[in-house]
């Protein structure tokens, strides 16, 4: 990666349902125009992290000539809280399409992880003009019977804010627990910025909102993925809790490619931010092949 990288700029996009928080990085004017110039890559952030995992990725890709944007889903990260009735995957997709319209992007490449991958599938199926490629990471490909059972089981109550503040420490432990699954080597030393950001995100949305689980459970993912026609890269890492679905997702999407990171996902190894380049290389390899004019 270049030592001189574009900066990340934060902002909001106004939609009918509220403000969506974005981070973006734009190629420097001084950089040589490459074949990927004017191509826009949009990341829809993993719910609990906001855009914090991408602090090195966005500028690096912009350094390669892409305009890069990372959006927090409504209700997560720094976007507004959800309002109105139940949100389904289709509701989030409608909202995100408004974001694309406001930003004037297709986008050329869409990268979505975990829960947001369901949203990526829905957006890919809408065949938006100009959208050319899709990356799905650690997508939950939950079998129909499990989804049905999840729906029948009802939604668990949200975590309660306790007047004595005991929840504050509980959230902290939850955030650590989840991140330890992704990065078993995570040391519980002085937490870094990403741990803190993830913790704050959990606090803001009371961990993972029950209604989001309901939305995932009611989305018939097995019927959707086989309809994807965009070039698709399916990625996962050895320590991702959705690794068990990786091969199924790959098999279900016609002509998809796959990449499995050995060990910890480069962006999940919080003590090794330098590993971001491994992730960037995978995206660059894929997009340079499929985003051709």
């Amino acid at each position: 990666m270049s030592n001189i990288l574009p900066k990340i700029s934060k902002g909001y996009v106004e939609t009918d349902r509220g403000l969506i928080h974005i981070q973006q990085s734009i190629p420097l004017h001084s950089q040589p125009r490459q074949s990927v110039a004017d191509k826009t890559l949009v990341f829809i952030n993993i719910t609990s992290f906001g855009g914090v995992l991408l602090d090195r990725v966005l500028p690096a890709l912009a350094g390669l000539g892409y305009r890069t944007i990372a959006a927090d889903m409504m209700g997560y990260g720094r976007s507004d809280k959800r309002s109105g009735s139940t949100w389904y995957i289709e509701t989030w997709a409608d909202n995100m399409e408004q974001v694309f319209d406001q930003l004037g992007v297709a986008p050329d490449g869409l990268i979505c992880g975990h829960f947001a991958a369901l949203l990526g599938v829905e957006l890919a199926l809408r065949q938006r003009p100009g959208m050319k490629a899709l990356v799905l990471e650690g997508m939950p490909f939950i079998p129909p019977e499990t989804r049905k059972a999840n729906l029948a089981g009802g939604t668990p109550p949200p975590m309660i804010w306790d007047e004595a503040g005991s929840h504050a420490v509980e959230y902290w432990k939850t955030a650590y627990k989840l991140m330890k699954i992704l990065d078993p080597d995570l040391q519980l030393g002085v937490p870094n910025q990403k741990v803190r950001e993830a913790y704050i995100a959990y606090q803001e949305v009371r961990c993972f909102e029950p209604s989001t689980m309901e939305a995932a459970a009611s989305y018939e993912i097995e019927k959707k993925v086989s309809q994807i026609t965009l070039p698709t890269l399916v990625m996962c890492s050895d320590t991702d809790w959705n690794l068990k679905y990786h091969d199924q997702v790959k098999a279900a999407i016609p002509n998809s490619r796959e990449h499995r990171f050995k060990g910890i996902h480069p962006l999940h190894e919080l003590s090794r931010p330098d590993r971001a380049h491994e992730y960037v290389e995978q995206l660059q390899q894929f997009f340079s092949e499929v985003l051709t004019d």
Binding site: K10, W161, E163
Partner: protein
């Protein structure tokens, strides 16, 4: 309606909340928050005043969603950054409302750019002796909220906010806890320099019309009388809400502010 945005400065991006009153001919009202809150603390007051005034509540660098400074040498750093944000927003002349640390920034700003600050409202003005400032440095200076692995800093943060009067509702308590955690470095940066500032000197040199407010259970209430004596022409109002007046008594603040701003047109 309150919206959020960022404004670019040469130092970094400053986050702010704003609301616009249709057809308002009043000067914009700029709101500066206390340590370690953010512009979120002004939402209730903004809702009270949004029909009459265009308002811009800024997140101080190191707080809320604004950029995180590496080093803050003095309060003047904050003044320059906040003025750069206002420049970026195209705001030249404005009225100002500052709460606690925001009041400290307000008086220094009013002295530095007297032609721009036209009226000023201070909640919790703090004219302190050197000994008192040293005392507060000791009380508020220690960095109890630095993240540690076992999460114990969170319980300390929660208990601290309760002690400061922020437990009137769990929603306020929760919001303030998040702001404090977000600003764990910013809090310490601000409290390192704010007790070095000679607030009283700046306060006495302010020439624009001024209004001072305080709640009787605010930690700065014992010094309120000094503020009244140092600026005898200042309007004054006693409000409620311990150290969280904008959340607990937004109507009281809005009524007093509206009266003051209208009277000094």
């Amino acid at each position: 309606m309150i919206k959020k945005a960022y404004v670019d400065t040469s130092l970094g991006q400053i986050h702010y909340r704003y609301s616009k009153a249709e057809g308002s001919k009043s000067l914009p009202l700029v709101l500066l928050h206390k340590t370690a809150s953010s512009s979120r603390m002004f939402e209730k007051v903004m809702l009270q005043l949004q029909d009459q005034y265009n308002m811009f509540a800024l997140d101080t660098p190191g707080f809320g969603e604004s950029y995180q400074p590496e080093h803050v040498p003095d309060t003047n750093y904050y003044i320059d950054a906040l003025l750069a944000a206002l420049d970026g927003l195209g705001i030249q002349e404005f009225n100002l409302l500052g709460h606690h640390t925001g009041a400290n920034f307000g008086v220094e700003m009013a002295v530095k750019v007297p032609g721009r600050v036209k009226r000023m409202i201070l909640i919790g003005p703090s004219i302190l002796t050197i000994e008192e400032r040293d005392h507060y440095r000791t009380v508020f200076g220690p960095a109890f909220n630095k993240p540690v692995a076992d999460g114990s800093h969170l319980q300390k943060t929660w208990d601290y906010i309760a002690k400061m009067g922020g437990s009137s509702s769990v929603e306020l308590h929760q919001r303030e806890a998040i702001d404090h955690i977000q600003a764990w470095r910013g809090r310490n940066q601000a409290y390192t320099v704010v007790w070095d500032q000679d607030f009283g000197d700046y306060y006495r040199r302010v020439t624009c019309p001024m209004q001072v407010m305080c709640a009787t259970d605010d930690v700065l209430w014992p010094y309120f009388d000094r503020a009244l004596k140092a600026q005898p022409k200042a309007h004054s109002a006693v409000i409620a809400g311990a150290n969280f007046e904008p959340d607990i008594d937004p109507a009281g603040i809005a009524t007093a502010a509206r009266t003051f701003l209208d009277a000094t047109l």
